[in-house]
């Protein structure tokens, strides 16, 4: 009974996830026959990716996701640290709440609102011109790399604060006091105790940020300007002509990449750093 209950999530994933995943990978090797596709083993879709513009899109998407996640982590970690360790619980709760509220607004509406602030005649440019800071509107505020990154970071960075906060807040203060008692500097304590103990949170945060940015298709559409295409957009576009094998191949590349990332994480870090005492559990 207990085992059955505990296997429930696994079962849920296997039924609704592993099967679609398998189908996706399988279809990526199928061949197209008119508007339909039929079972086969061909690498044609992968050749299309490598030969055409899709490879550029793929590389750009990965680069954008890595950059946006790194920047977000650099912003989210200090915020989570201060909230978890230096703020009173009431203040921390309030600020965390404030971080979530904007997400109740639909993300399309939110990003559209950004364009009205950042455009050539938008609020920011109007202010800058009236204040005499610039004489021409700043074109790079919108439809640029800047606006895409602003969109990505403002959408996914707040999600990263939560796991970081939770892992930092859970660190036993006794460790820190012991470290201080032993004469370690604040920096040394942070590097030797806090940072390693917050790795589970960093891992979760990086996964949230990276996955979100990589799959994002609305931000480039709304804020991207002259065809800032990311992976999600190019997959949709290939489906527009019913090229499901190509869409599946693009997805497969992402899936394989993510699996490799997970494996290297295992090899380099060992799961212990993330799962901590869970691995010592004897049931």
């Amino acid at each position: 009974m207990r085992q059955a209950l505990l296997s429930l999530p696994l079962l849920f994933i296997v039924i609704f996830m592993v099967v679609p995943l398998g189908v996706t990978i399988m279809v990526s090797f199928w061949e197209r026959a008119g508007l339909r596709f039929k079972p086969a083993f061909t690498l044609k879709s992968y050749e299309t990716i490598v030969e055409g513009a899709r490879l550029d899109v793929l590389i750009r998407s990965i680069a954008a996701a890595v950059e946006a996640t790194t920047l977000s982590l650099l912003i989210a970690y200090p915020i989570a640290y201060v909230l978890a360790r230096k703020a009173s619980p009431a203040v921390a709760r309030l600020i965390l709440l404030l971080f979530t509220v904007p997400f109740l607004i639909n993300y399309v509406v939110r990003n559209v609102a950004w364009t009205s602030l950042l455009g050539r005649t938008g609020t920011i440019n109007s202010f800058l011109i009236q204040a005499g800071i610039v004489d021409q509107p700043l074109d790079w505020l919108l439809y640029s790399n800047f606006s895409v990154f602003l969109g990505l970071i403002s959408t996914y960075m707040p999600f990263m604060i939560f796991p970081l906060f939770l892992s930092l807040a859970a660190i036993d203060r006794q460790y820190l006091e012991a470290s201080a008692d032993l004469g370690a500097s604040a920096v040394a304590t942070f590097l030797r105790i806090t940072l390693p103990l917050s790795l589970p949170g960093i891992f979760a945060a990086v996964v949230f940020g990276f996955v979100g940015c990589l799959g994002e298709s609305a931000v480039p559409i709304i804020m991207g300007g002259v065809g800032y295409e990311l992976l999600g957009n190019t997959i949709t576009s290939s489906m527009d002509v019913l090229n499901y094998p190509l869409a599946a191949a693009l997805s497969t590349v992402v899936i394989v990449m993510m699996l490799l990332l997970m494996v290297s994480w295992y090899l380099v870090f060992d799961l212990k750093t993330f799962l901590g005492k869970i691995l010592e559990w004897r049931s």
Binding site: G34, L35, R36, T48, G52, A53, R54, D56, V57, R60, V112, T115, S116, G119, R120, T121, G122, D139, L142, Y143, I221, I222, G225, V226, G227, E229, T234, T236, S237, S238, M239, D240, V241, L242, N243
Partner: protein, 388 residues
């Protein structure tokens, strides 16, 4: 639209709605005596939720499901998910018959079951068999789509910045470098570009409606060259975005749809929808009858009644007035004859829009082709343009 005031009851409903997540009320699909027609639509065909005239006539309600117009969105809901068993009618920009019919997703339309069909002179004049517009509703000489909306597209500009413009050349004029926007769509933007290149003698293009690979590649090379020179500010992707580009004067020349100009004008912006000497990009929306194996004969009859309703005067006039597209000839008469429903200014608007679009169809240009012979090549090349 007349409900400009919040009364006390409204205020209480508002307060109740704010707490809606607390109420565990299960959402239910409204049921009329007869049943419900599931109507998938791209938003254009929604008469602001008022189907009362249809319900009164048929006893059926309409459940409108808002979907995307991208071929992927349409085909995904029908091909993969159970859309075929769910929807009765799907109302999208026409010309999708090839993928829809070849995948056995829609049924032939029996026009004898649609009394308003014969009364619709636009169908014969612009979309009849043998006319280029037939590609929006027909396939292999059979009719699959009911034309609900017709329109001719060009581009918009701000005369205060550019003066009068009358050629697609404006989209590529270095004078407006960085102040031009194109639509992210190879069947509109690329086809307009092809029309321009052909008429200006800049490229050898046989038929902009259905280009060969070489011809399309020429168009994309031209666009990439323009893009690298910084001609385009943005490649827009949605109605809302295009309206904002015009209203905020973010760009001066924009390849777009006419209703966006109507919206901009209503916000006090002096934008003009151009009458280019090269002609227009003509298109029509089509309502398809989904091939649903489970649908009862009664349900099919009701679906036909809805198709007929959509070719009727009230629906046509309501849509023309709301969205700014031409619908059917009865719309003008209906609006003029029923001042209680359509005040004089609205009736005038319906007549003006209809005359204007009719004029565009008579002037000609190129017919938007949503499924050209080399559609896959189009898609791959458009990706190259966007990634460039």
């Amino acid at each position: 639209m007349s409900s400009g005031y919040l009364n006390r009851r409204d205020a209480m409903r508002l307060a109740a709605m704010a707490m809606v997540s607390g109420s565990a009320m299960l959402p239910g699909i409204a049921r009329a005596a007869g049943g419900t027609i599931n109507f998938a639509d791209i938003g254009v065909g929604d008469p602001n939720g008022d189907w009362s005239k249809y319900t009164a006539a048929s006893g059926y309600n309409v459940n409108l499901v808002s979907i995307g117009n991208a071929p992927s969105a349409i085909l995904n809901v029908l091909v993969s998910s159970g859309g075929q068993g769910t929807y009765d009618i799907i109302n999208i920009v026409g010309g999708m018959q090839k993928p829809l019919v070849e995948n056995d997703l829609v049924e032939k339309i029996d026009t004898s079951k649609i009394p308003n069909w014969a009364k619709d002179g636009f169908i014969d004049e612009f979309l009849g068999k043998g006319k280029p517009g037939f590609q929006f509703i027909g396939f292999n000489d059979e009719i699959y789509g009911v034309p609900t909306v017709l329109q001719g597209d060009s581009f918009a500009y701000l005369p205060e910045k550019t003066g009068k413009l009358d050629s697609y050349a404006a989209l590529f004029d270095p004078q407006w470098k960085g102040y031009v926007a194109l639509e992210d769509n190879y069947t509109t933007a690329a086809q307009k570009t092809a029309l321009y290149l052909k008429k200006a003698g800049l490229a050898q293009i046989g038929n902009p409606d259905d280009m060969t690979k070489e011809e399309f590649k020429t168009v994309i090379d031209f666009l990439i060259d323009q893009k690298k020179k910084g001609q385009f500010r943005v490649i827009w992707n949605s109605f809302e975005q295009a309206v904002n580009l015009i209203v905020n004067k973010e760009v001066y020349v924009i390849d777009c749809w006419e209703p966006m100009v109507f919206v901009a004008k209503s916000k006090g912006v002096d934008a003009v929808y151009a009458d280019p000497k090269e002609g227009y990009l003509l298109w029509a929306m089509a309502a398809y009858l989904v091939k649903n194996p489970n649908r009862s004969a009664e349900q099919t009859t009701a679906a036909y009644q809805l198709l007929d309703f959509m070719l009727g005067g009230w629906y046509g006039a309501t849509l023309t007035n709301l969205r700014g597209y031409m619908t059917n000839p009865q719309a003008v008469e209906y609006a003029a004859a029923n001042p209680s429903e359509f005040p004089a200014d609205q009736a005038k608007r319906v007549a003006e829009i209809t005359d204007n679009v009719k004029r565009k169809f008579q002037a000609g240009g190129t017919w938007q082709n949503r499924w050209p012979t080399e559609v896959e090549f189009y898609e791959a090349e458009w990706s190259r343009f966007k990634a460039a």
